[in-house]
Symmetry: C2
Subunit: 313 residues, 2 copies
C-alpha cells in the first residue's frame, strides 16, 4: 500500500508507526500555506525523508491510501477526490464540518470501490478496550456519561472561525459520541439536546449533549477547553458506564468495576493501532473500522452543534 | 421553639441533633398507616420518649415549627396547614410533587408570618462547603456537572407510584440542582432538557438534565439508583465545577483544586447543621436558608421531570 499524507493539522500521528520511506509516497499541504513543520519533524525523527508536494492532487495518482488531516473544513473535499479515484481515505474526524459536505462524502463513499474511515483512535486505547472487555459484567446498559477536557494552549488561527474549525462538539465531543456508539453495539443513538458556550475568539470553550438510544439508554457528554495549564496531563478523558448489575468507570486511564463484590481496579487490556486496523480493512478484513460508524458519529455531532447554536445563543 | 415531627418517610434525621424532650411536642404520621418505626427508634436511642398523635393536625396548636417528611405527595398539603397558622415548616424536598401544589404552597408562604424551607442538607456538608469556599479561585464559572447515584435497596411501596413518589428528578436530582443554584449565587438557572428511564415498578432508575444559567453557565446533572449493592458507600455524590482559571472537583467527599499550580487536595471545611440554621432563621437571622431557593429548586425539578416525561416515553 502506497500512502499519501495530506495536511499536518490533525492526528497524522496515528499513521506514523506504519509509515516508512518505502510506503510513504509524499506529503502535501491540504490548503496553501498549511504549516507542516511538526509533521516533517515527526517524520525526520523517524528517519523518513518525505517528498513534499505543493498540491494534494499531485499525490492522487501515486497513492493507494490518503491520510487526510488538513484544515478541518477541507477534509471532506479532499476525501471525496480520493474516493472518486477509488483510493482509501483515513480521515481526520469529523469527516465533514458541514452537513451538505457530509452528504456528498457519503455519496462518494457509496460509489467508490474504496472507503473512508475516521481517526477515532481513542476507542482503541487500553482504557477503552478495558471498558469494552468488561461490558458484559455490568448487566444491561442504562446510563453512560463521558467527559472530554483539554488544555486550550496555542491553537492554529483557523480554530477561531466556525467555518474552518467546525465547532468543539464535532472536533472534541465527537470522540465521546464514538465511545458511546461503540458500547451501544448498533443500538442507534440520537441527540436530544445540546448546548455550547463561546468566549470571544477561539473554539467554543465548553459544550454538553444529552442523548438517548433507541432502546432507552441515556447518555450525556461534556467537552471543554478549560483544563488548567498546571494539570498533570493534556487531556482528562473519562467515561462512566452504568448497567443494571455494575458500573464501569475510566478516569486517568484507570478502569474500575463496581459490582456486588465491591470496587475492583481492572488490569489494562492492550491497546490497538487504529491506522494498522484501517490498513487491514483496506486489505479486506472485516475488523470494524467502518465508514458507517464514522458517518454516524459525524452526523450526530453536527446535529448537536446545530442544536446548540439554536439553543445557546 | 416547640417542634412537631410529622411523618417518618424522609430526612427527619436532619432535625434529630436539635431535638429534646423539652422542645419536641409530639410526632404524628402524615398519612394514616405511615410507618414511624425507624423514627421512634432513632428518638428512643437519643433518650427521647415522644408523644405520638394519630392526626398531624392535633400537633398544630402545640408547635411553633413543623418538621414535615411524610409520603412525598402530602408534604405540601401539611406545610400549607402549618403556614396558614403562622407556623414555620422545615419540609422534605421537593416542597411539592405537583406544580399546582407548589403554587398553593408559595401563596401560603407569601401570606404567612412564618415560612417554609426545604431539607437541602447536603449543601452544608463539609465537601460542598469546601467547594464553596474555594469557588473564587477558579475564575469565572463556565460549566458544572453533578452526579447523584444511590443504591436502590428496599424502598417503601409509595416509591412505586409517580403520584405518591413524585419522580427521581424531584426526589434525587433536586439536590444537584440545589448545589448548582447555590454556586451560581442568584444567576438564574433554567432547564433545557431532561430524560429519565423507568424499569418496571419503582422509581425511575436513571435521569439526566441539561441546564443553562442566564449568564451562560452550562450545567448537567445525572441521577441514578444503579449504585451496586457491593459499593463501599450508599451514595456517590460528585460535582465538577469548571471555571476560566481552575477546576474544583468533589468525589467521595474529597475536594481537589486543579489550577496553574497543578492538583491540590483541599483541607475540608467544617459542615453545618441545616436544621439549626433553619431554626436561627426562624429567629430572624438572615442566614440563607430561604423559602425562595427551595421553591426555585423544586420548580426546576418539576419542570425537568415533566420535560423528561414528554421526551423519554
Amino acid at each position: 500500500m502506497k500512502i499519501a499524507l495530506i495536511g499536518g493539522s490533525g492526528h497524522y500521528r496515528y499513521a506514523l508507526d506504519a509509515l516508512s520511506e518505502q510506503n510513504l509516497v509524499g506529503i502535501a499541504p491540504g490548503v496553501p500555506g498549511e504549516d507542516l513543520t511538526k509533521l516533517k519533524k515527526a517524520l525526520a525523527s523517524r528517519g523518513i525523508a518525505a517528498r513534499e508536494y505543493a498540491d494534494p492532487r499531485a499525490l492522487l495518482p501515486l497513492a493507494d491510501v490518503a491520510v487526510v488531516n488538513t484544515r478541518f473544513d477541507k477534509n471532506a473535499e479532499i476525501s471525496i477526490e480520493y474516493l472518486n479515484e477509488n483510493k482509501f481515505v483515513f480521515s481526520e474526524k469529523p469527516l465533514a464540518t458541514a452537513r451538505e459536505d457530509l452528504e456528498k462524502l457519503e455519496t462518494a463513499n457509496a460509489a467508490s470501490r474504496a472507503f473512508v474511515a475516521g481517526m477515532f483512535g481513542i476507542r482503541f486505547s487500553p482504557w477503552f478496550r478495558t471498558v469494552q472487555k468488561h461490558l458484559g459484567e455490568i448487566g444491561d446498559l442504562r446510563l453512560v456519561t463521558a467527559q472530554k477536557s483539554y488544555k486550550l494552549g496555542e491553537r492554529p488561527g483557523f480554530y477561531r472561525r466556525r467555518e474552518t474549525f467546525g465547532g468543539t462538539i464535532p472536533w472534541v465531543a465527537i470522540h465521546a459520541v464514538d465511545w458511546i456508539q461503540t458500547l451501544l453495539k448498533g443500538d442507534p443513538l440520537s441527540v436530544v439536546s445540546a448546548l455550547h458556550r463561546a468566549d470571544g475568539e477561539g473554539p467554543e470553550i465548553c459544550a454538553e449533549m444529552l442523548m438517548r438510544s433507541a432502546s432507552g439508554v441515556l447518555a450525556a457528554v461534556t467537552a471543554d477547553y478549560l483544563r488548567p495549564a498546571g494539570a498533570p496531563t493534556h487531556g482528562d478523558d473519562r467515561i462512566r458506564v452504568v448497567g443494571t448489575k455494575g458500573v464501569l468507570e475510566a478516569v486517568g486511564g484507570v478502569v474500575t468495576l463496581t459490582d456486588e463484590n465491591g470496587e475492583t481496579t481492572l488490569p489494562p487490556e492492550p491497546g490497538e493501532d487504529v491506522f494498522r486496523l484501517f490498513l487491514r480493512r483496506c486489505g479486506g478484513e472485516e475488523i470494524g473500522v467502518t465508514p458507517e460508524e464514522s458517518f454516524l458519529a459525524t452526523r450526530l455531532a453536527l446535529t448537536a452543534r446545530d442544536l446548540a447554536d439554536g439553543g445557546a445563543k
